[in-house]
Structure formats: structure tokens, C-alpha cells
Amino acid sequence: MAFSPENPLSAEPEIETSHVDEFVEQLRCVTDSLPSRINIDAQSVEQGLAKLVLTLIEFIRRLLEKQAVRRMEGGDLSPEQIEELGLALMRLEAKLNELKSQFGLTDEDLNLDLGPIGRLI
């Protein structure tokens, strides 16, 4: 259906694609991730806060990992230092995983959508 002056703008927008099923599948995630109702019981409030806090920590942890890798590639760390750094980050990751499971949160849960900025993790 070609766009023409006879087709007013207040009509339904046109959607052009050769892959309807694929886009339907991908766009369903939009509705899946919306909240269905407000939970005011203490556990949901606590979990909501935990989600926020853990996501921020996870973000920082990822940044630390990236920095560590960059330094490692930069060549200014001795093999011993690399090993120390790696072990410390391993422990940090393990600790985060422990916290996540304590609150029953998965990696997906921590993936806050920041819109244009894109997913945090």
C-alpha cells in the first residue's frame, strides 16, 4: 500500500517487513517485561531495592574486569600481579553470584533497560 495524500496521517501507521514472525517474537519481549501490578508487601520492596543495588554493583564489577583486562594487555603487570588480580575478581564474581541467589535474582533480572543508553549489562 503506497503512501499517498488520500491516505491520511491519522490512519493506522503502515508496517513494512519481510519477516513478520521474527519481529513479532522479538517485540513480545516488550510486553513481557512490563510490571503487572504494584506489590507493596515487604518482600517485593526488598527485592526491588536489592535488584537496584546489585545491578549497580554488577555494573561496577564489569567495569573493573574490563580495566583489569586492559591493564593485562597493556603489559605493565607481572605474571604474579595478573594472577592476584584475577583471583580477586574471581572472588568478587563469586560473591555477587551468592548475593544474587540469596535474593532469587538472575542475570536477566539485573538487566535494567535504560532505553536509549541500552541495557546496562
Binding site: E12, P13, I15, T17, V20, F23, V24, L27, R28, V30, T31, D32, S33, L34, P35, S36, R37, I38, N39, I40, A42, S44, V45, G48, L49, K51, L52, L112, D113, L114, G115, I117
Partner: protein, 72 residues
Amino acid sequence: MADFDQILVGEEWEGSELSLLETLDHVLNRGLVIAGEITISVANIDLIFIGLNVMVSSVETAQEVLRKRELQ
């Protein structure tokens, strides 16, 4: 998840599922307002997923509930 089950299932809809999803994607593009009188921008919360907005409302409501309980 009662509300959202209704969205894609249920009564007839003449348009295609794709056009429905695209419309939803646009209408809800910048999030939604959950509780009318409570702002959805607390510092930079505007950027944070609406799940957090729900949480913000819940925190406020929860504090209200706790405050009332203390008074009793």
C-alpha cells in the same frame, strides 16, 4: 500477570499482532505512569526501567503503611 495475558490473547482483534505490538512499543516507549500523583523522575530515575518506578511507588506506599501501623 493478568493484564498482559489479556493483551495478546482474548477477544478478537482485526489488526495484526505485529501492528498491535508496534503500537504498544510506541505508546509505552518512554515508560508509563504507575501512580498518578507520584513523580516518575527522582533524580535520573527517568532513565531507569519502569520496574524501578513501580518499586518507588511501592516504597512510598509501604512507608505509609508502616507509619500508620506505628501510630496504632
